[in-house]
Symmetry: C2
Subunit: 266 residues, 2 copies
């Protein structure tokens, strides 16, 4: 039996059951991704339907549901084991504020057509799609942990397949938000292609003088707005340890990261 932990996020606002020392454990990436989801716009009709593709144990989706009371979050995860962690998180009494608004689907997000719809990935069914796709390209060193290997196995054309699904399941004007490595930028931009416009790219740097280690990318389905490069996030200040204030607020669910150019309201 795999050892597991129950970890507090957003300073105790929700909890996640996760494999201990194995698999892809949720961290800052998931919290920054969740912060890209804005609340319902004023006058908007709820619920805000959010899909998390490749949700793992569900960290980003729970963070969205925790911060946004109007959000209904569908977690899509290929690995039965990771989906099971998400289901067990959704059964925790500590998560009663979010549990009724979380659904877990075991699904391959690269499905197409009718099979995709049958898996819960419904055409035009969501207002916001978030994703933190697995990485580690083939040329990276193989990790010895098979569970982590599944989470990190980067297939050729992954972004094309995942972003194709995002384009299908978002309503027109809906928002795609993702976190990835800078080296994936070319593939991400190509996959957005004519499906998405208004790309906004935010580099994330560990320290001000270092190259970015992540990028946040958001885009609007069907938009023709121009690509923009936004001011970078710097995780650590001069003292070398503490998160800078604004990033810490995003990481802990106290604020979200709005786009410059928004899509159509819900």
């Amino acid at each position: 039996m795999t050892e597991e932990t129950v970890d507090a996020f957003h300073r105790g606002a929700f909890y996640l059951v996760q494999p201990k020392g194995r698999g892809h454990r949720a961290g800052m990436d998931a919290m920054l991704l969740a912060a890209m989801v804005g609340p319902l716009q004023p006058g908007g009709k709820g619920p805000l339907k959010v899909a998390d593709l490749g949700a793992g144990a569900g960290a980003a989706g729970f963070a969205v549901a925790s911060r946004i009371p109007e959000a209904e979050v569908s977690l899509f995860e290929l690995s039965p084991e990771m989906a099971d962690y998400a289901r067990r998180s959704a059964a925790l009494s500590e998560n009663e504020a979010t549990n009724q608004r979380i659904r877990v689907f075991e699904a391959d997000v690269t499905l197409k057509g009718a099979a995709r719809n049958a898996a819960g990935l419904v055409d035009d069914g969501f207002d916001h799609v978030i994703m933190n796709p697995p990485f580690n390209e083939a040329r990276d060193r193989k990790t010895p942990d098979p569970l982590k290997q599944v989470a990190h196995a980067m297939a050729e054309g992954l972004f094309e397949a995942w972003i194709r699904t995002a384009g299908a399941i978002l309503r027109p004007g809906g928002q795609l938000s993702l976190i990835a490595r800078p080296q994936s930028l070319a593939e991400i931009i190509a996959a957005c292609g004519k499906r998405f416009g208004g790309l906004e790219i935010t580099p994330v740097h560990a320290r001000a003088e270092e190259d970015a280690f992540r990028i946040l990318v958001s885009a609007i389905k069907g938009s023709r707005a121009r690509l923009q490069m936004r001011p970078a996030f710097i995780m650590h200040g001069q003292d070398g340890h503490a998160f800078l204030g604004a990033v810490d607020d995003l990481n802990n669910g106290r604020s979200h990261y709005p786009r410059r150019v928004t899509g159509k309201s819900v």
Copy 2:
């Protein structure tokens, strides 16, 4: 007769003849572009052969020749009028330190094959290609100045054509450096395609809290290195006016902006 000015650059290190109040006058963009050209690597055999595509009055090329004594710079410019300004700059006695190392070609940088070679755009002939392609897309407001219109007329596929030429005229391992608007990033990355790798992208922001208004992109012919996003340049500090020190040094030719990952040495 068009009025003109003779302007000092790099605090008097070289001078440019430019149309007064008309055409595309050289400024910070050209100086940042020039700063992307590094000197000969230690032990490298000169000269360092640099091509400036769409050189206008030649500002970036003169800046390179001024800072790097081993540089031989070929300016390629479509407009006879702008090329003439470059030739007249090359005839100024004030520019005697650079004049013998500057050549001006009236040429369409989108030529292909034998015609391209005949125009001076010689296959594998250069160590470094720089470009600051004209912009203003069709959907931008038309400018009433016809000379500026030529310089700013953004054609569909411009980056594809210009970067195709850069890929042809660079030696293997040679460097492409360009400055552009963020909204051109998708087209630039697509045009680099399999011709170039090791893209390094540096956003340039007027102020820390504003979106980038330019990007610097460099790439190595034939490289398979990963795309990197480097720390941004911030032009203006809190006081709102003076260039920040490091950027000021680049703008005035006192330093250059080296890549993280260099190509093969000359």
